[in-house]
Structure formats: C-alpha cells, structure tokens
Amino acid sequence: MVLKTLDMMGPQHGYGIARRIEQTSGDLLAINHGTLYPVLLKLEQEGAIASKWGVSDNNRKAKFYRLTKTGRRQLASERRQWEQTTEIIAAFFAASGEQP
C-alpha cells in the first residue's frame, strides 16, 4: 500500500502517506499512524524506498519518501502476485458458486 501510494503520488512525507491510505480506503482502514514508521524503515532498509528531508506544502520540515528502482520492481512483482492471488480466489468463488 505504501509503495502504491508513493507510486501514484510521487515523493511524499509520512503524514501524507498515512492520510492517502485512509482516503483511498475510504477511511475503512483507520490505522495508528505511529505504526507506519517501522514499516517505512523496513522498506528503506530493503532499498525499496529512499528518504530525504525537505519542506512540506505548508512550509514545515518533513522527511520525504520516494520510490526507488528496486521499489518499483518490488511493486510490480507484488502487483502480479496479488493479481494472481485474487484470480485464484476469484476462481474458487466462481467454482463454489456453480456447485450447489
């Protein structure tokens, strides 16, 4: 989700990412924003994202995260996996629908 957000919106700070996830999910996913940071760190350690201090829209100092090449590749592969998973699940539902 973080990767997708960054892919769509370009470089973004932690708060922005959190807001975006909430908005995209229609506030269905109300997460503690604090839990976002360990995830960001993990992604950064894996080299999927990179961070840099910058200035936000309303002139506040904030850390901006952007997607790296590795991140893009990871996103693509995860998207494929997800599509595969959903297809399989969908196929199951479709199959079970015909059964009874």
Binding site: H13, G14, R19, H33, L41, K42, Q45, G47, A62
Partner: protein
C-alpha cells in the same frame, strides 16, 4: 539479498543509532503537527486538535521502540550497553580495577608463558605436509628401550621393500662453515635425497634436493640453507644460490633455501645446513665406510601411505629388518648363542613423528607439566583474590543493586551485567598478561639457549594459538571469579538491603563466610606451591654442594675442533700440542691441558674393554667411560691421585708404551681391589695396556650421575677431533678468555672456539634445568604468597569495616585496644590456620597416595 541488505543497514543503524533517534523524533513531531493543523482546519479547538492528533498517531513510545528494534541489532546493543556500563563501573573505582587487572595479568601471563613453552616443545606439529602420516622408525633394543640409530643398508632395504609411502634417513653433526673470512660452528644435517620430498618441504629460494643429489658418492657437493640461518648469516641475499660455502673445508655449492619456518625435525635444535648424505666421507673423518652394515648412526622418518594401516606398515618393515638381521648374525660365529638370541628377538617399532623428535622435549616435558599445574594454581589463587575484591565491591553496591531489582530489573539481566564487568576485567588482565608473556618467553628462551640440546636460534614466542589459549583462560577465569559474586550480590532480601540493614547485620553473614572460604582456599593452594618450591631449591642446593671429584675454582675451559675446518688426524694432534705449548707460556697460567670428555659438558665416550683376570658374566661386559687426556690433566682439574702416577710426557707420542689411569670405581668394580697399578686392560682378547695410576672418582658428564668407572688414556688415543682445553689460572679465570682465543686465532684464524667459560659457569649451565625450575617455582610461589596475603588483608579489612558498629559498642562498654586487636587477629589467624591445616593435610595425603600409585603390583602381591 534483501535479508543481507537489511542486516547491513541494521549494522550501520546500530552504529549511528543516536542520530537516527533524533531524526525519528523530528519526523514524528512534524507528523503530529501536520495532523494538528489539518484538525484545526476542520474547526477543532487547538487543544482538541492536538489531542486528536496524538490519538490518531497512537503510542509514540511504542512506535519508537518498535522502530528501534527494527533499526539496529538489539542483542548487540544490549551487549554494548552492558559494556558501557561495565566500563563506567570500573572507572568509578580505579584502585579496585588496577589491582584486579594486575592480579589477573600476573596469573594469566604466567599461564601464557608456560603454555607457549609447552606448545612449542610438546604439542606443535612440524611445518610439513600431513605431519600425522610421519612415523619415527625405531628398533626395540636388547635392554628393552628403543634405539633410533640404524645402518645405511637397513635404510635402503626399508625404502625399497617395506610398505612405507617413502622414507628418509638423516645424521647431524656440528662442524665449521666458512663463508668469506668467517668460520661459524653450525649444525649440518646429512640427509638422504628423499628428505625434502618425504617431508613435502619446498624451497623458498632456489631448489631443494632431488634423489639424484644423493646418488653418486662424492659428486654432488650441494647444500640447502635453513631460512633463519640464511637471514642471519647471509643477510637473506638471493645471490647466495650458486655461491660456495665450505664445510670442514670441503667446498659446497648452495642450491637453495628451505621454506621459511622449517628447521628440521629436531625441535629446539634446528639444522642450519642440509647436505646430501653421500658427501659425509669428505666432511667427516672416519665415515669413508658409511654404507657398512656395522655402523648404526642414521635416524629415519617414514611417511605412511594413507591406505596402509600403521600396523601393516610396521609388520612389513619388521620382515625386512629380520631378513637383514638373519643375514648378518644368523651364522655369525663371533657372537655367543645368548647374545645372538637376544639380537634376533628385537623388532621394528614405529612412533608418531608429526611433532618431530626432541632431546629438549624429553628433558623438559615433566618440569613443564609440573610448572603448568603450578601456574594453574597461581591463576586460581589470583581468581580467588579478584572474587574477593568483587564481593567487597558488591557490598558497596548493595543498595544500587537492590534499587535496580526493586524497580524491576530481572536478576538474569543484573547477573549478565555483573558478568560482563568480570569479563571485561579478565580480558583486560589477559591482554596485559599476553603483553607480559613476550618478555617472559624471551627470557625463558635465553635460558634454553644455554642448553647444549637447544640451538642458538631457538626462540619461543606466543603465537596465534597461544593467544587463543590466553583468551580462553581469561574467559574461564572471568567465570571462575565473577559468577559466584554476581549470583551472591543479586540474591538478597530487598527490604533489608534497601534499609541498609545488612551492612552490619545478618544479611552480610553468609557472604562473610564465603569470603573466608575463598581465603582458606587460597592458603590451601599456596602451600603445595611453596612446599614444591622449597623442595626444588633444596635439591638445587644439594647439587651445588655435591663433591665433583675435582676443583671447580680457577679453571677456564674452551672447545676447539680443528677437523671442522678440514684438519687431518695428525694435523689435529700437532695443533693441540702447539696450542698447549703456547698457552703454558702465558703468564698467570699454572697448568694447561686438553681432554675430549669428562668435564661435565655432557659428552660421553663409552668403549668395550677387556680386563685382565675378569670374566664378565653372560650378557654383561666392561663398558667404562673413556676420557682421552693431555698431560697435567689431573693437576689442572685437581683430581686427587690415589695410587701410582699420572701421565708424563714420555707416555705421549708414537711408540710410547701403552698406559692407562683408572678411577676407583673402575678398580673396585672390575678388579675388586684398589691395588690395580701394574694390572692390565685392553680392547681385545689379550689386554696390553698397563695401568699406571688410580685417581679418586669424579663426575664425568653431569653432576647428577653416580660415580661410574672411567678409563683415562693419553691423547690422542680414542679422540675424534674436538677437544676441550682446560687452564688453571692464578686469578679469576674469566680474565684469560681473551688470551686463549687469541692463541687459537694466531695458529688458525678460521677455527671457531666454543664452550668458552669458567668451570663455575659450566656447572651453572649444567644445572640449568634445576635452576630454571627453582627460579620459576620460587617466583610463582612468592607471587601466590603475596596474592594470598592481599586476600587475608582484604578479608580482615572488610570484616573490621563491617563490624565498626560492633567495635564501637564494645569500646563503649569498656573493651581495651588490646581486646579489639586480639579479636581482629583471632579472625585472621583462624582463617590462616584452617587454610594451612588443609594444605598440610592435603600434602600429607598426597605423598603416600603418590607412592601408592608407584607400587609395583608384584611387590604389593608379595606383601600378602
């Protein structure tokens, strides 16, 4: 890949942790502020906006902690924190730290030094290919021991017919090596062409021998140099290949330098030069016939094939050996039937050869093992001391520990922290100890170098293996001294400790016992060390006071071997004649003489004699030791003449009547009377040497020996080139050393002079092993005593401090100074007395127990 990247970033994260922490704080701060602003925009009050923002964010500390755990390596960070804490703790009490580190450094340093010796002499493998495949080839001798000297034909037979992968033979000898203007006395090893191939040792410069180098007699005068010798004597110059060196005046072409670190198969007595065995007739007189079956002189090392079991190889070699024996002695008429039987009953024995062979190992193994136990005890005593100090320190920290326990630190965590502190102390001590080990092993190598069985080049140094041992000892020591105090100090009644009650009450009572116990243990361990040292020093004193049978004062000695620069036998004889004449003309020289053995230099010449009127029992013979001496020998060394006369000038020279002088032991043992002047002895069936005098017994090759039969013959009978010159001087004999060297140089400047020292110095040298042991054990036991004294002091000091309160009350109710003094003294002395009695009891039990282990089962059974 991903995991690797994560690990790397964690590692760096752990290192720059504090910066990242600040980063994260800023980031979270700005997150919350942005949320607050958005909330304000939706119309919340500032306070509500802030509250909602925090609610949304969740638990900040939890997030931080999760973040931290992910960022670095938590275990490593805890460890680093423990170390930081330990360093702080140690710095807070510098005196304690210094004393503890010094104590441990002494204990660990002593262990490292002795272990490096043990390692070099007893454990290290030769730097060769697959040393575990090498075996020393021996033959069980008729006396039930193993002889390792064999004839050349046996080598050839074993090499071609036995089941070894390969085999080489070697024989080493000291001779003069001349290069440029200088001649040095060096150890030359005559080896078969297979030598380097069997060992798998390559050349570091040039090449080593091939089989061809040893094939034709006297054609291949080539030499390979030992790496260290090449460095020392030739400055490590690569140009040496192709140059000529002279060994006993015979020119040899240097073809290479052996691999660095390899100095032959004799540990402690390295070879300097290797030459093909076939060159020996040109270098050493009397070896023209070196391929004869009658000379047993070569030592052999074989390499076993990986696919032939050692026992099969031995059996195959035995078959070859037996065939040779049968050929030689099977039909022999010169042997009595019993003697032939015994000869034919001998068999081939193989011993592991991967560690090489060593005279030093044989002599120093037991002393070194004893010393290792000694230094082990010393380390235990040191550990007890440090444990005691830690316990004392724990009392001071009792409140701190109690508070930490009270606020929820786990006991495990505290023990871990305290152990980290011990570990740090021990490793610091170990590091200092390892530093101490360098000078001490250097000093010990210097002691060894004066041993004739050790080469000049022997240098024992701690290496990586020894340092690993030191580290291991340090860690074990830390556990030994740290665990008990750590467990003790974290096991306490919190409510009492927090109130500070245990400082003077029951809480400290059990700990007081523990500390007493440690001191008792120290004293118990110190006693055997002290007793051992006293015994060894006593032995040494007895040896110094032994009657040598000659006068040790005012005698100077020096050895010269003219054959080592190529003299013939006759030239050698006239050289010594001239030298003695010249030396006798020097002012201040009372007497001067020469002898080939008998001056405690360790050389021995033994010969079979026949004695007029003495029929040796079957299986026995007359094997006196022989000394070939110049005139005035008995006067120079002050050997008292009992009967008859000493040698006179008329006894020397061609055509002089054959005469001999014997000692009392010889007379008693073979003539059963001291009245032997006029009786005869000899080499063959008809004794033809007249005995002209009898001297009192004297020591021959060592101070430790019992008086044994000696036959003195006038030089040059039974002499083989090298002789020792003895001078009796009017004053300090050391002052004539230069004059003696000058006289030798003036006759022939190439001749190396060795063993140049006074007789007293020679005696010191011959007792080096005992002195070495006595010095070390007394040193170690004094150290142990000192450490124990510190321990007793510590305990007494501590108990006095603990009982300040009690003392105050005692004084208040009228106790005198003397009463208090008695009270304290009684405490300390009780501890000492307990320790001493246990120590004495242990020693008293040990001696009979030890004796019991030495009882021969047959004797024990006969007692029934």
């Amino acid at each position: 890949m991903k995991a690797l990247r994560r690990l790397w970033s964690r590692l760096t994260g752990a290192l720059v942790g504090h910066r990242r922490a600040a980063d994260l704080r800023d980031e979270m701060q700005s997150h919350i502020e942005m949320q607050t602003e958005d909330n304000l925009r939706t119309g919340m009050s500032p306070a509500e906006a802030r509250r909602q923002a925090h609610l949304k964010f969740g638990n900040v500390e939890l997030a931080k902690e999760e973040y931290r755990d992910r960022r670095g390596l938590p275990a490593m960070e805890t460890f680093a924190r423990d170390i930081r804490y330990a360093v702080r703790g140690l710095r807070r009490s510098p005196e304690f730290t210094l004393v503890a580190i010094l104590t441990l450094a002494l204990g660990i340093g002593a262990n490292t030094a002795i272990y490096s010796f043990l390692d070099v002499l007893l454990m290290r493998s030769l730097p060769v290919d697959a040393p575990e495949q090498l075996v020393l080839v021996g033959v069980s001798s008729q006396q039930g021991q193993t002889t390792t000297r064999h004839s050349y034909p046996l080598y050839e037979n074993l090499r071609t017919d036995a089941g070894f992968a390969d085999l080489f033979a070697e024989y080493s000898w000291f001779t003069g090596m001349t290069f440029g203007e200088r001649t040095d006395r060096v150890k030359v090893n005559f080896v078969t062409g297979s030598y380097f191939k069997v060992l798998g040792v390559d050349a570091s410069v040039g090449r080593t021998f091939t089989l061809e180098d040893d094939q034709t007699n006297g054609d291949h005068f080539v030499a390979v140099l030992e790496h260290g010798f090449w460095q020392r004597r030739f400055g490590g110059s690569h140009d040496i290949v192709g140059r000529t060196i002279r060994l006993a005046d015979q020119p040899f072409t240097v073809i290479g330098v052996a691999a660095r670190g390899f100095s032959g198969t004799n540990i402690g007595m390295g070879d300097a030069v290797w030459v093909p065995l076939s060159t020996i007739p040109k270098v050493r007189a009397g070896y023209d016939d070196y391929q004869s079956a009658g000379m047993s002189w070569l030592q052999m090392i074989a390499r076993l094939s990986p696919d032939v079991p050692a026992e099969d190889a031995r059996a195959a070699a035995d078959v070859v050996y037996r065939r040779a024996l049968q050929q030689r002695f099977g039909e022999s008429k010169s042997l009595t039937p019993e003697r032939r039987q015994r000869l034919l009953a001998t068999e081939v024995l193989l011993e592991p050869g991967g560690r090489g062979r060593s005279e030093l190992r044989f002599r120093y193994e037991k002393p070194l093992r004893i010393l290792m136990v000694g230094v082990g005890l010393l380390l235990l005593i040191a550990c007890a001391n440090v444990a005691n100090l830690l316990l004392a320190k724990a009392v001071v920290r009792q409140r701190e520990i109690a508070i930490r326990l009270a606020v929820g630190a786990s006991r495990l965590k505290l023990v871990r922290q305290l152990l980290t502190e011990s570990m740090l102390l021990s490793l610091l001590g170990g590091a200092c100890g390892a530093l101490l080990a360098w000078p001490s092993t250097y000093a010990l190598s210097m002691v060894l170098r004066s041993d004739p069985a050790a080469g000049e080049s022997i240098l024992i140094q701690p290496d990586a293996r020894v340092l690993a041992f030191t580290a291991l000892v340090s860690v074990l020591a830390a556990i030994a001294f740290g665990l008990l105090p750590a467990l003790r100090s974290t096991h306490q009644d919190l409510s009492l400790a927090l109130k500070g009650v245990s400082r003077s009450g029951a809480g400290g009572f059990s700990r007081w016992h523990l500390r007493d116990g440690l001191v008792v243990g120290q004293i118990t361990l110190t006693l055997p060390l002290l007793l051992g040292a006293v015994l060894i020093v006593q032995t040494l004193r007895n040896l110094y006071e032994t009657d040598l049978g000659f006068a040790r004062e005012n005698v100077l000695q020096a050895s010269v071997n003219p054959m080592s620069v190529g003299y013939s036998r006759d030239e050698t004889t006239s050289f010594f004649r001239r030298l003695i004449q010249r030396v006798r003309a020097e002012p201040g020289i009372v007497f001067a003489t020469i002898a080939n053995a008998g001056g405690l230099l360790g050389d021995e010449y033994i010969r079979v004699f026949s004695v007029e009127g003495h029929q040796p029992a079957p299986g026995e013979g007359v094997f006196p030791r022989v000394s070939s001496i110049g005139s005035d020998y008995f006067k120079t060394l002050g050997v008292p003449l009992v009967r008859g006369r000493g040698f006179e000038e008329s006894d020397y020279g061609e055509g002089a009547p054959k005469v001999a002088v014997v000692n009392e032991a010889m007379a008693r043992q073979y003539f059963e009377t001291a009245q032997v002047v006029g009786r005869k002895l000899g080499y063959g069936k008809k004794p033809n040497i007249d005995i002209v005098g009898v001297v009192r017994g004297s020591k021959y090759s060592s101070i430790r020996e019992e008086p044994r039969p000696i036959v003195y013959l006038p030089y040059p009978a039974m002499s083989f080139g090298g002789m020792t010159i003895y001078l009796r001087t009017t004053g300090n004999p050391a002052e004539w050393a230069r004059a003696l060297q000058r006289e030798v140089r003036e006759i022939d400047s190439r001749l190396p002079v060795f063993n140049l020292k006074t007789m007293t110095a020679n005696i010191d040298d011959s007792l080096r092993l005992e002195r070495f042991l006595a010095g070390l054990t007394s040193g170690f036991s004094l150290l142990a005593l000192l450490l124990t004294a510190v321990g007793i002091y510590g305990v007494t000091h501590y108990s006095v401090r603990q009982r300040t309160h009690e003392m105050g009350i005692r004084r208040a109710i009228g106790a005198q100074d003397s009463d208090i003094l008695t009270l304290v003294l009684r405490g300390g002395l009780t501890v000492t007395a307990i320790g001493v009695s246990i120590g004495v009891a242990a020693a008293a039990c040990y001696v009979p127990a030890r004796r019991a282990t030495q009882v021969d089962p047959m004797t024990a059974l006969r007692h029934e």
